[in-house]
């Protein structure tokens, strides 16, 4: 029974990974792409790892998967923030459809 719940978590994670990567391919500029593709990390791969923990139980591999979830949730927003900030400072423009740019207004 608990293995089937783990497989369910793996299905949720794979769906988030697939649609996040589709957004990475489809969206118009770097900020929108970061917005969709960071869902791959915090929801997609984390729930695949949680499914692995449910399948394996408290073996060394399962506990390592839990530690890996903790590491991912701590570091993925940091790397996304660093990327968006450095892209804005290096002069990557927003797409034509975007409405306002608060970061540039604040740094005038």
């Amino acid at each position: 029974m608990i293995e089937k719940i783990g497989f369910g978590f793996i299905v949720i994670g794979i769906a988030f990974d697939f649609f996040g990567c589709l957004g990475l391919l489809r969206f118009p500029d770097i900020y929108n792409r970061l917005h969709s593709s960071i869902k791959c990390v915090t929801l997609g791969t984390s729930s695949i790892l949680f499914g692995l923990f449910l399948c394996e139980g408290f073996t060394p591999a399962g506990v390592k998967a839990l530690l890996c979830i903790l590491f991912l949730i701590l570091t993925a927003p940091v790397s996304a923030h660093v990327l968006a900030r450095s892209a804005h400072k290096s002069g990557v423009r927003l797409s034509k459809d975007s409405v306002c740019d608060k970061y540039a207004e604040d740094n005038k």
């Binding site: 792409r33 990390v41 991912l72």
Partner: protein
């Protein structure tokens, strides 16, 4: 033209998904269940999306973002292989890859901003 490209991409992705779900694709590994094999193939499809973005991204920031997501997808591959084969050491490869990927993304972001590494 734009709509035609959109429709062509949609048809291509739908054809690949139908192929993954309904055709039997030969593989070298012995899979524990057919579900895990399909899961692995869908992850390969999304990794190919990341690779396409690395090839044709217009700015360097796009390429760095796609590289970040590619490293995270490799962690997912390692987790699925760990469930399939029952060997615990696959997840060690994933943890090492995620650590290295995080530090390299920080360094590349610093480089993109136009500063030295020790600023």
């Amino acid at each position: 033209m734009r709509r035609l490209r959109w429709l062509l991409g949609l048809l291509l992705i739908a054809a690949i998904l139908v192929g993954i779900f309904f055709l039997s694709i030969p593989s070298l590994l012995e899979w524990q269940s057919a579900f895990l094999k399909k899961a692995f193939l869908i992850m390969l499809l999304s990794a190919s999306f990341c690779f396409l973005r690395i090839l044709l991204g217009p700015t360097p920031a796009d390429r760095i973002a796609a590289l970040d997501i590619f490293g995270i997808l490799i962690l997912g591959f390692c987790a699925i292989l760990g469930v399939t084969t029952g060997r615990g050491w696959y997840i060690d490869i994933g943890i090492a890859w995620a650590l290295q990927s995080f530090i390299s993304i920080l360094a590349l972001g610093k480089y993109l901003e136009g500063k030295h590494f020790d600023d």
